[in-house]
Amino acid sequence: MTARQGVEVAPGPAGPGSAQDDPEVRRGQEDRLREAWKAPPGWRYWSAVNNTEVGLWYTLAAFGFMLFAGVLALLMRAQLAVPENGLLSAGLYNQMFTLHGSVMMFLFAVPIFEAGSILLLPQMLSARDLPFPRLSAYGFWSFVIGGVFVCGSIFFGVAPAGGWFMYPPLTTTVQKDQLGVDVWLLGLSFIEVASIAAAVELIVGVLKCRPPGMRINLIPLYAWYILVVAVMILFAFPPLIAGDLLLELERAFDWPFFDATRGGDPLLWQHLFWIFGHPEVYIVFLPAIGLMAMIVPTFAGRPIVGYSWIVLAAIGTGFLSFGLWVHHMFATGLPNISLGFFSAASEAVALPTGVQIFVFIATLLAGKARFSVPMLFATGSLGVFIFGGLTGVMVALAPFDWQAHDTYFVVGHLHYVLVGGMLFPVTAAAYYYFPFMTGKHLSEAWGKAAFWLMFAGFNLAFLPMHFTGLMGMPRRVYTYPSGLGLDGLNMASTVGAFVFAAGFLVVVGDIFRPKGRQPYARRNPWNAGSLEWLIEMPGEDWGVRSVPIILSRYPLWDQPGFLKNLDEGRFYLPDAEEGKRETLITSILDARPIQCLRVPGPTWLTFWAAVLTGGVFIFSTYHWWTASIVSGVGALATILAWLWTGTALVPEKPEKNVGLDTVLPLYGAGPASVGWWAMFITMTGDLTAFLSLVFGYFFYWTVRADFVPEGAGPAGLPWFALAFAATFAAWGLTFLARRRIGALGPRGFQGTLALAILLALAAGGALILAPLSEGLDPTVHVYPASVWVVVLWTGIHLAVGALMLAYCLARSLAGRLTPEHDIEVWNVALYWHFLLLSVAVACAVLALFPLVD
């Protein structure tokens, strides 16, 4: 196994005299590369997993959902055009605003960044694909299925109507029998899982799939933003998933987490929702700013001024955004001092945001700015976003928020931030990257018309809302009375909304108008310096002819002969000798080559896995438990088949020459493998969800005097002790199996695993018996419910841990898991490290805390 630091980067491209001089050789290489990377033909096209296909579908689907949510917004604006309008009923209006917010956030704003990154990031890093193409495909299909399910519900009148924030007890009492809430909880949980999958993919992509020589100080700024955002997803989405779990348990099984009469507290939901919800805003905003950071230097014709400052801003915003969530709860009656901390952090987050804007302005000043449609949208976005930022500083001030909160002021503010900070940059990027995607330009004339319609319409629609709100109009009202002075402002907003929509329609028209006769754009049409623009017009499926050596932030500007060397295959991996899809894995800080990674090709398995996983969530919505379980078993089987046939493949030879006299291994286990990193990252997110449940436990302890009732604890203590002991032993055996796989021999290895499986199951059993022995009934009070939910979470993880060990056992029996090829046991051992931590925390909290409290 090669060390994690990798091998030296070659001094430069293959010079004259190398085999690459011969055009015949090159043609042969190109044919083999084309064959390896081509998309499947005919209907099998939809089994593709390559980032160019999946990224495109993902982008189009996200845009489709956006248009749908936009139509809902127009209908709502039509209803609010005049006071006491009867166009929409209250019920329908409430479904519409709920869907508008949910779809824009969960089905457009977050996915469009995942989609765009799947499409762009490999190209920016000259990787032939992301490390887990099938995971991307699985995420995409999950997204489409979940999205269609959630959106479709409105045509049957059963769309969620609890607001995109789904506050209980509204959603657990008044709307208890409404299917819509379950559609929201389960449909969107499904999509959240897909988002976490994308985050895993993108983190590993940025850290491990860079071209040789692209040290951490040279990576494209977009990649920095994606890295930060993907890490944020790991900490932001799990609390919501935990919250969804609690809410669904209350709805389906009457566990009283949010029922004040049985010790619950509705505020826990608000905490969990907004711990997700506020970082979410930055998860949406940062990638868009990342796009700006790619566009601005191109049109300034110079490198960004203050690269470190952008990195500071991205990381700083990522951190601070987790200290803001209570500013959505300023009116819930928390003590001043608590509100003060969040008010302070909310003001502080404006600092890195301001830095980013000034970096762009400084870059434009120091360069020689050229004008174009992308720049038009980019400057427009600055104008809109800055205003949204300034009103953000206002609402961050708790006392002012006591007036502005939940009014149209906030509606105005958030649209300035999201449209200025996200939609306009994304539109700018659509114009900028359209030649990248299709080889052809969008129209300058249409773009200008679209911009001015959108800019004027947007301001006409949303600027008045700040006053509508302060003059007394709350959010989420389907009607308002005449005589409050709101009539003219609302009419202006409605007119503006339609003008804005007309502008966006022009963009859509420009994208879809036939371009058959339009010539292809020339290569690198904007004279950019970053790697994605080395793409040919039209692009080839292989993405990059050879994986280059990078010595600069803007290699297309700075590295002499770059494109010629690249096209002549004078860098790494110029060939696909074995007809396999290959890309390079490099080290984190200095991007030294570590491994030649074989990535998998087309398959239907990911599609079916997504369909069956979707079935679990969708059937559960209707409480069709049997169908749900059948679907779940099917999903598990499909995923196992996918893992068995498509991962940890043993190569036909241990290493290969990737060009430039560099020999790299084809197989790597442990920290040298991308799978290990994926497991590490996934489990970080998983641990966050678990800790959110533990947070819930201590939250109830804080606010309720009757939490941890008198006399709780002692009966369960031995069972908890037993559960921990068994887990510890299972963990020890798993660790031993990993460490001593060679010394144990196949039989010893398999025996160790079998024993570990038994212990894991015993641990799970003991864990379940602990609350049973105390006679805890989860529907009676929030204390037993809190104990049970932690036990269930940990118990399910133990079962999964046992299943993973069984998988390793099976692989070993099949002769696929050997001391030389042991990826699986490394990854499972890593899972068990996290599992041990979870069980330890669970047992300590549930068994010991009641005794000391």
Partner: protein, 330 residues
């Protein structure tokens, strides 16, 4: 595009100006037309912040436009760096620190305790109306609904609670809002400074009729307030006659109370002095005999999913008597 950028700056200013002229910012529910200490402080703060934001916006956007359109060309690196440090770091840090400190002080000020001698008000959020209970220092109470009366010049404590879903009590002309959360009692202190009629509304989405969960407010001189509260404490006038009979015959008393009669329901609003209130159905309709008739007959059409069924089956003669009786409950 030099013309374009001027137009854009001009356009922004024009929109702003027209918005300002369009709204005189007056109104019974306007935070910018204050009749209370808190609202006045916050409205003042808003105008200052808005002016500052306007200046900052114009300056930053102007620099951007200069950079992109008016004078594109390489400016000195030093200028750019200076701009980045000054505009991106120093100025915002100082401004935000000052604003934050002011905000913290304001929080302390606005949440000062109420006058202990003043009458307090308990507000319960119902589905979808307001139960208002005046709490005297001696422990006695008077119940009303969908109308809050406050004495001018006193800091009054409002105890906010809910037994169903989360609501938010918002009386923008007097002060900021506060949520009503099941399992908690939140305290809001308001200090009206100007007598007059105001309007408030639920600000937290609470279900189908959220938009129609409003209340009226009258801020009165102290003496008038005391007199009114004495009258409010009294039971309804004697001698209901046919109207009261109808009321009881249709079972209205199962949900509504009229003190001094056998009607003692607790589900709907107390109607003892319903005729003295400004609106019907928690701000849905102005209070007038014709509207009351409409409301009783078509409740579900006027306010979706409200707990009261439409009593369209009441014959005309009975309805007339009922409306006459209720409109006599001053």
């Amino acid at each position: 595009m030099g013309r374009g950028s001027k137009r854009r700056r001009g356009g922004g200013a024009t929109v702003l100006a027209s918005a300002l002229s369009l709204v005189a910012c007056e109104g019974p529910q306007s935070a910018l037309d204050p009749g209370g200490h808190g609202a006045a402080q916050l409205a003042g703060l808003f105008w200052v912040m808005l002016a500052a934001a306007g200046v900052l916006w114009v300056v930053v956007v102007a620099i951007a436009v200069v950079a992109v359109r008016l004078r594109p060309g390489e400016h000195r690196r030093r200028t750019a760096t200076f701009l980045m440090l000054g505009g991106g770091v120093v100025v915002p840090t100082v401004l935000l620190a000052a604003l934050l400190w002011h905000g913290l002080g304001l929080m302390r000020d606005l949440r000062q305790p109420a006058d202990p001698a003043a009458v307090a008000v308990r507000v319960d959020g119902e589905l979808w109306w307001w139960r208002i209970t005046y709490l005297f220092p001696d422990g006695s109470t008077v119940e009303s609904a969908n109308e809050v009366r406050l004495p001018v010049g006193e800091r009054v404590r409002l105890d906010l609670a809910s037994q169903n879903v989360i609501h938010s009590f918002w009386l923008p002309s007097i002060g900021g809002k506060m949520d009503l959360i099941p399992g908690r009692t939140n305290e809001l202190v308001l200090e009206p400074t100007k007598a007059g009629d105001y309007r408030g509304q639920c600000a937290e989405y609470c279900g189908p009729a959220h938009a129609l969960m409003a209340f009226s407010t009258e801020v009165m001189p102290k003496e008038s307030f005391a007199r009114w509260l004495d009258a409010e404490a009294k039971p309804a006038a004697e001698g209901g006659g046919a109207g009261l009979d109808t009321f009881l015959a249709y079972g209205c008393g199962a949900c509504h109370s009229i003190r001094g009669t056998s009607a003692n329901g607790r589900i709907g609003p107390d109607l003892t002095h319903v005729a003295s209130r400004a609106t019907l159905g928690a701000g849905t309709l102005p209070n007038a005999p014709d509207n009351l008739r409409l409301w009783i007959g078509h409740t579900q059409d006027l306010k979706p999913d409200v707990r009261m069924p439409s009593f369209g089956m009441i014959p005309d003669a009975d309805m007339t008597a009922l409306v006459a009786y209720l409109e006599g409950l001053k």
